[in-house]
Amino acid sequence: MLTSLWQGKTLPVLTVCAIITVFWYLGSIWLNADMQRMLFENNGNPSYSTAELIEGTLSQEKPKLPTPLQILAELNKTVLETAPTSKRSLVYHGSVTLSATLLGFLIGSSLGMALAIVVVHSKSLDRSLMPWVVASQTIPIIALAPMIVVIMNQFEVTGLLPKAVIAAYLSFFPVTVGMVKGLRSPDPLQLDLMRTYSANQIQTFLKLRVPASMPFLFASLKVAVAASLVGTVVAELTKSEDGGFGARLLGGSYYGQTIQIWAALFAAAACAWVLVSLVGVVDRVVTRSMGARP
């Protein structure tokens, strides 16, 4: 049991978790101490002990750095104890974010694959499109997001779609780059083989390039799905009236609700982890069926 823990990932991960937690608490005490001293003095209690100070730093209402326990309590409250339909529920906000994320991921990865297929088959499009694809990612999404929302609003496209478009903007890129590399990964020998059968371009594409690109595709889909979530959260900063993790982050920072911000961050990270893991599961199933070594 113990050896399997050591050989697996569980124990190393837990160890790192424990170390982070220790430093986190130290950080909380250090960062919140000034505020706590001020609180004690304002309350006419200048003769506090160190223990009282530390205890105080760990239970502030609006700490600079909330403790993990405070964040977990907030998560417990907003995930488990609040009705999922309530605007105070993180489940509600999570579902808003996830729906835009998934739609954006769908649009982005389809677009990414389509672009890759086009680029691989046309030298001129490769030369003319690829620089733009790369350039598209040099623009900070946070600057672009409001404009996309405004412009799409002009065409009366509102709701999920503008956010999904922003998510897609971030997620198509890794898919294009990965898929282009994947579709070009067959070696000359494998391509020559197709020529000796006088296979046409479509056959070579379907029977050689596509299967060869799968490992590359899944690696980039993992990046893309996480990027899609980031894009959605950024979009929600602009379009906060619909809710979502981004709106929670924004609301938290308006009112100095640091615990709420951290809880939303943790929830977003957990969602991203689940999404990446899901892609990983599909990856494993597909590549196993394609003869990958277990």
Partner: protein, 260 residues
């Protein structure tokens, strides 16, 4: 005399590289008759693989004429006149052995039933029955190369082009595969063009040995080798075998001498 399977006259091929032109083939003339087993032997850079690739329409000659089955190599390729076995097995790793052998059949539009039948026969031919569902990495190098031979033969081409197919294998496996290849050739009556740099392999397998020399790649000597078709590895000990081998070795040496 019937039309030769391969008829090359005065073939030249020059690759333009950054270091200037490389004369891979220079004035190569050769004809190969139906049912022959012809080995192209020579040191690296003598153009033996290039010649094979010209026959397969994977390279275009700069000068000269060549016909395969009486037509241009391009037409012959479109008619799927030959099966090609590369130096590496080049099995697609995402396909099982059976599916790899079926690949050309899928591309050429054979029915599912026909594919299954031919895969079964192919596996039997190269003694891989039972490995149909295995993936390439689960097989040894020799087995992989056998699978690639079955793949090249699956659509029953009359001409088999082999580019150092056993070059990466150890000698024991190579001997065994050489014997199997001979039996296969005997059984199927194919015409085989076989590139190698092993003298015993060339002498053991061939009805005709084409000795090539490098820079520029040209034919130095053509040696006929008329051991019976049902020869076994034992003939390598006979004086006749050693004689032919010596002639090949001498040809290779002479080929080298006027280069340096």
């Amino acid at each position: 005399m019937a039309t030769p399977v391969i008829d090359a006259s005065h073939l030249s091929l020059t690759f333009e590289t950054n270091d200037g032109p490389v004369h891979a083939l220079s004035d190569v003339s050769l004809d190969i008759q139906k049912g022959e087993f012809v080995s192209l032997i020579g040191p690296s850079g003598c153009g033996k693989t290039t010649l094979l690739r010209v026959i397969a329409d994977l390279e275009q000659p700069s000068e000269g004429a060549i016909s395969v089955n009486g037509m241009s190599p391009h037409k012959a390729r479109l008619k799927r006149a030959y099966g090609y076995v590369f130096q590496a097995p080049a099995l697609y790793p995402w396909r099982t052995i059976g599916k790899n052998i079926a690949l050309p059949l899928e591309i050429m539009g054979y029915s599912k039933a026909e594919r299954e039948e031919r895969v079964r026969k192919g596996l039997d031919l190269v003694k891989l029955t039972g490995f149909e569902k295995k993936f390439p990495w689960q097989l040894s190098g020799g087995m992989q190369q056998r699978a690639s031979i079955a793949r090249a033969l699956s659509f029953d081409p009359d001409l088999l082009l082999m580019d150092e197919p056993f070059g990466a294998l150890d000698e024991i496996v190579r001997d065994k595969l050489n014997e199997q290849l001979l039996r296969l050739w005997e059984k199927t009556q194919k015409t085989v063009v076989f590139v190698t740099h092993s003298i015993p392999e060339a002498v053991f397998l061939s009805t005709k040995i084409v000795v090539m020399s490098p820079r520029p790649g040209k034919i130095h000597d053509v040696i006929t080798c008329d051991f019976p078709r049902d020869r076994t590895l034992d003939i390598r000990e006979t004086p006749e075998f050693i004689n032919v081998a010596n002639r090949v070795r001498q040809g290779l040496r002479e080929g080298h001498s006027y280069v340096d």
